[in-house]
């Protein structure tokens, strides 16, 4: 009950007119910048840090919260409409969202993303307020072997789910894993597969690969087809709002996405990518219309978007309770706290309770503002797709290149982007799924580190993965998920024989 009283105090801080203005500015800047592919929320918050020097700590942290949530939402808009995910967490949203947009259902896709994000962030913020101290105790118990178990689950489900055949999925995944090995190995500090190019020492940027494969590859495919059959601009079919069926198909994925996103986001090395992939796979398995996946299923937008936003709230758990930033934006927010000589950590809730609860309350408010700001904009956004295709794709090429250069101004980066564009074109041409390559790049290094850290701590004993109950369970789930499809296939063949 004490939490309620404190939260009430928080609301009275966050609803002060000045703080409402800061939240509104944060949300608007965050959305505006998030829409540009390549410029993520972290860069925005970093640029704004000196600006907020004159604000009181409460005001500046509240503004950051608005930027954080706004940036997350803006990222999904470009992912859906232009197939250019601005950050790794919205890669999955682009999968189904862009298919929906291209079949004229961009409005419902944006709406389910907006409302799903709202629902997820609302629930996750409540969870943050009440569960944070408890959750963090569990999260720090998550050891390298547990992370490796989680990665195994992600790998197995992803490579089995995408593509027309498991072999094509695995080939694409292997490509991503190979890219993921490039750069300085975190555990030994040695360079791997960098071919003497210093720009490769930090590895391949996920957004460069995603934008190259998705957006540039797509533009090349459209251009190659254009010679034979000129395509017309995409007409908007039906209402730009969600129909009853859309609602019926969306609300469960929202809740499931939240349930997956928040706890994984709260893990010290969880991040937003794994929950979005897991959510996508679960929705695909559970959907009554799973055949629509790959051609624009609304569940495939609703679930991952909810998971994405819930995990954003989740990352605040380790930030506020441990002082542990698990995303680039959180790292900048940490710097923001330190600027006022406030050290996030176990004592933050005790020493600066007013600030913490003010932040939680302003997250609620930022959320409501986002919804109010974005729903009316949907009608405007979808008009983007009415632009003639050559113009639209020329624009996509320009924005994709500009975003990449803005994030990392180097020639090598631009060459990589172009190279990945060509690879994306070839993968589409020969029917290889693209998503597993991106998954491989994101999860490969994480799995590599988790595996080797586990073995380092167990002095080389591989039994470490089965000795701890939590990792044993996850390894078990992964093996079942790997074997089960083959058994089911065998069973159904068996049944067919009987007929």
């Amino acid at each position: 009950m004490e939490s309620f009283a404190l939260l009430f105090d928080g609301f009275s801080l966050a609803t002060q007119p000045a703080n409402l203005v800061y939240a509104a500015i944060g949300v608007i800047i965050g959305t505006a910048v998030g829409v540009l592919p390549g410029i993520g929320p972290a860069l925005t918050v970093a640029l704004l840090l000196p600006v907020t020097f004159k604000l009181d700590p409460g005001g500046s942290i509240i503004m950051f919260a608005g930027i954080y949530y706004g940036g997350m939402y803006g990222g999904s808009t470009t992912a859906i409409l232009l197939n250019t995910p601005g950050e790794s967490a919205s890669v999955v949203t682009a999968l189904e969202g862009n298919r929906m947009a291209r079949s004229g259902r961009g409005g419902p896709a944006l709406a389910t993303a907006a409302i799903g994000s709202f629902v997820a962030a609302l629930i996750a913020t409540i969870a943050l307020a009440f569960l944070a101290p408890l959750l963090v105790k569990i999260a720090v118990k998550f050891a390298p072997w547990d992370y490796f178990g989680l990665m195994l689950i992600a790998f197995v489900t992803v490579s089995a789910t995408f593509g027309s055949s498991p072999l094509r999925g695995l080939t694409s995944l292997a490509f991503g894993l190979w890219l993921g090995l490039m750069g300085i190995d975190q555990l030994t500090g040695q360079a791997r597969l960098t071919f003497g190019v210093p720009e490769l020492l930090d590895g391949i940027e996920v957004t460069t690969l995603a934008v190259g494969l998705f957006a540039i590859g797509e533009a090349l495919v459209v251009a190659s087809r254009h010679l034979y059959k000129p395509e017309k601009p995409i007409p908007i079919k039906g209402s730009i709002w969600m129909s009853m069926e859309d609602w019926a198909r969306s609300w469960k994925p929202w809740l499931r996405g939240t349930a997956i996103g928040f706890p994984i986001g709260a893990l010290p090395a969880g991040g937003a990518e794994i929950p979005t992939f897991l959510s996508y796979n679960i929705e695909r398995k559970l959907s009554r219309k799973s055949e629509e996946f790959g051609s624009g299923a609304i569940e495939g937008v609703a679930g991952p978007e909810a998971a994405n936003n819930a995990s954003a709230a989740g990352t605040l758990v380790p930030l506020l309770t441990l002082g542990l930033p698990t995303s680039a934006t959180a790292a900048v927010m940490l710097a923001g706290f330190q600027q006022y000589n406030i050290q996030p950590g176990p004592l933050l809730f005790a020493q600066h309770a007013d600030l913490v609860w003010g932040l939680v309350a302003s997250l609620f408010i930022a959320n409501v503002m986002l919804l109010v700001l974005n729903l009316p904009l949907i009608g405007l956004w979808v008009r983007l797709l009415a632009i003639p295709l050559p113009w639209l794709y020329a624009g996509i090429l320009v924005f994709a290149s500009m975003g990449t250069i803005a994030a990392n101004p180097s020639v090598v980066e631009l060459l990589l982007l172009t190279g990945f564009g060509v690879v994306g074109f070839l993968m589409r041409r020969y029917d290889y799924p693209i998503a597993p390559a991106v998954v491989g790049l994101i999860l490969g290094p994480l799995a590599d580190n988790a595996l080797r850290r586990s073995l380092q701590m167990s002095l080389g004993d591989p039994m470490v993965f089965l000795q701890h109950p939590s990792s044993a369970i996850m390894t078990g789930i992964a093996s079942i998920a790997l074997v089960a499809p083959f058994i089911f296939k065998g069973l159904s063949r068996f049944q067919q024989d009987e007929d």
Partner: protein
Amino acid sequence: MRNFFRHGLMAAIIGSSLAAGAISVSAQGLELTITAPAGAGGGWDAASRSLQEVMMATGAAKSVQVVNVPGAGGTVGLAQFVGSAKSSPDQLLVAGITLVGASISNKSPVDLTQVTPLARLTGDPLVIVVPKDSPIQTIDELLKTIKSDVAKAIWVGGSAGGADHILAALVTQAAGEDPSKINYVAYSGGGEALAAMLGGQATAGISGYGEWQGQIESGDLRALAISYPEPIEGIEAKPLKAQGLDIELVNWRGVFAGPGVEGADLEALKASIEKTVTSDRWKELLKARGWTDYYAPSDEFKTFVASETDRVQGILKSIGLAD
């Protein structure tokens, strides 16, 4: 946005009024660009932006821009800086001990001895901790544990070859064991390593004191020693030197100019930095950020960088990270 304009306007007014008032003092007309060889949010970025703020507020420079060039522990930024700054009088670089280690272990063609040291700015102590449930109570007991089985003593800390790793190697050496046998589990930084400490998966951990201050004060971690040569006010843990180990290691950061800067240009930059770091504003900022003042002027810093480079090279060789 009002504050933004007010802030910007104030800086502009201060800058222009000083420029107008100064006739012969060239330092006050400086228009500088600081390269932070790291992404936004890290220590070098924070140090660069702090310098920017204080230099402009005190009038040590007319305008200051910060450019982030992240990559490979700072070696990408350093290589770019060496290539572009040359003898340019308006280019600065902020870097520290991590870059010394990174240039060696990445076999970078450039290192910090090639640029011109202007001043050492801050030096943060590293701290050696154990989990609160650990039976280890003192640094001597930790040394005994290492001696009993060096491979079973699991260290966690920041990236491989960084200051944390180097300190772990020095302590292992002090215990009389071969540092190449050290079992050091590298994380991307003190934050991620913290989870491994709190989860009880490690024997001991090393990080910047500030990063783990909260957990040390709340009692979740037990600090055995700090690596700073002298005791620090407000930090209970004693220096390694005071506990009978001849080890000191400071996570220092400093500011550098291009490789070919000399003569009047160099003097102007030195004067500008000196004006900045002796201001009250800088002292307040250090306090607010929790940074320890470790100022050394240009000449002293130059000798220091050379000796640190030799020392780090030697240690990395003993761990097996450098040839």
